[in-house]
Amino acid sequence: MCGIVGLFAKQENISANLGVHLSKMLESMSDRGPDSAGLAIYGKPLASKTKITVQSRSPKHDFQKLKKFLSAKKEISFSLKIHSTHAVIKLDVKQKDQVANLINDNFPNLRILSVGKKMEIYKETGKPAEVVKRFEIAKMKGSHGIGHTRMATESAVTTLGAHPFSTGEDQCLVHNGSLSNHNSLRRELIRKEMTFETENDSEVAASFITYRMNNGKTLKEALESALVELDGFYTFVVGTENGFGVLRDPIACKPAVLAETPDYVAFGSEYRALTSLPNIEKAKVWEPEPATVYFWGH
């Protein structure tokens, strides 16, 4: 089991309270995934700037060191905001690759969770209520966001095994289900020079989609090829710069509910995840069809 939530704001009243809504939705999915939780939040884009979200197991020490290290590089202008075990570095879009390389080369204890103009990823082990509190998700605003509560089956309960998994700049994936051919797919992707942090099956799905999109496929095409290549059970929700997409495997035993009102589109593994949303009783509520790609974008 696992729980997935997603919220796409069509109106300002939802985006202003995106964090509040997503926190409640995520907490309602605690018994589907009590091991760890995570969210990707898409905020306002920054003009010619981008954001790198990094995670550390010893944040106090590591983030101070990182700040000092980057400040010493005179050509880099940046700001760094710490959210518990995560830090969001804002910097000029042109310096993104340089800084990412510097972090990877000099800070083996830091993990880059996401890069993007809008997206920030927060994920940790622990109950969903503790995770949303730790990162103060309720204070966050944004155009859309997706979240996941994890009940681990395929790999260890670690921060990096939590979802969402980044699949590229401003892109991420959450997964409910289990893949049976992830080991052979991982080997294939490693041969194509993709890198992996965990033994997790969902990371393979994320990498699979990233690889295809890096090679010119659209998100829709990448998801359609997942229907052919991935063996197992899955409901995926993918976040992109402009919105989110949903895909269920052809058997579709992993649950999924969508709701739409003039103010929002919401996704939940169950209807329970949606009951805290405004006017849910008036929403159009339905189950997405198996093997069908859905997408909502701004």
């Binding site: 579709a252 649950p255 169950e270 209807y271 329970r272 509520v285 339905w286 198996p290």
Partner: protein, 225 residues
């Protein structure tokens, strides 16, 4: 009428009250908010009206009681029910009425995949569409679909009847269209009249059932061993 409100009572308290109530009691359950396993294991004739949508396994193992959900229901509605009536005004999720032995389920909206899987005597009426693999391994009872049926309808079916007014995406293994005989037409009319459904044209329904070719071992397969 007794009101049981989720804003004041726990699921366990509400289920206990329903299960231990006197015969012929009438309950109205408020604010279920997608709760799981609501109104399960009732084994006497009571009436339960649930105002709002429910989650997994609502009205499972039902015996004798009439349960109405004014909203939609999650996976496993009325699983293994023995008798009584369940009416959901909205949609139901996957495997509604799974392995049901008797009674009837009426769905006002759509049912998703595996509706009536392994049904053993229950009557299921869906006013909308049903998803893929509905009536999979259905043994006995009737599945009446007013809308369309998804892929692999009636796969490996035994002696249950399927009546469909809309389109069928595809039939599963050993499921075939059968002639709508007078006997089957009157069976259909009985099922619908028992469920108080009257707004339909019986001529629009087609009947599907087992070709019975999987009942016996096919000797041509012997060389595999």
């Amino acid at each position: 009428m007794h009101i049981l409100d989720f804003n004041k009572l726990s699921l366990r308290d509400i289920n206990k009250t329903l299960q231990e109530s006197d015969k012929n009691s009438f309950f109205s359950v408020r604010n279920p908010k997608g709760s799981h396993a609501l109104a399960v294991g009732i084994n006497k004739k009571i009436t339960v009206k649930i105002v709002g949508s429910v989650g997994y396994y609502c009205a499972g193992m039902n015996k004798f009681s009439d349960i109405k959900v004014e909203g939609s229901a999650g996976p496993g509605l009325g699983e293994n029910m023995m008798s009584g009536n369940i009416y959901v005004t909205g949609d139901v999720s996957q495997y509604a009425g799974a392995s049901g032995h008797g009674g009837s389920i009426l769905v006002g909206g759509n049912a998703s995949s595996r509706c009536g899987i392994s049904m053993k005597g229950v009557d299921i009426i869906v006013k909308g569409n049903v998803g893929h693999m509905s009536a999979f391994m259905a043994q006995k009872g009737n599945l009446v679909i007013f809308g369309d049926a998804g892929h692999a309808l009636g796969d490996s079916i035994y002696e249950a009847n399927i009546y469909v007014a809309g389109e069928v995406a595809s039939l599963g293994a050993d499921c075939i269209e059968k002639k709508m005989t007078k006997k089957h037409l009157s069976n259909l009319e009985n099922i619908l009249s028992n469920a108080n459904v009257s707004d339909y044209n019986p001529d629009t329904f087609r009947r599907f059932g087992s070709a019975r070719s999987l009942y016996n071992f096919n000797v041509d397969n012997a060389k595999i061993y």
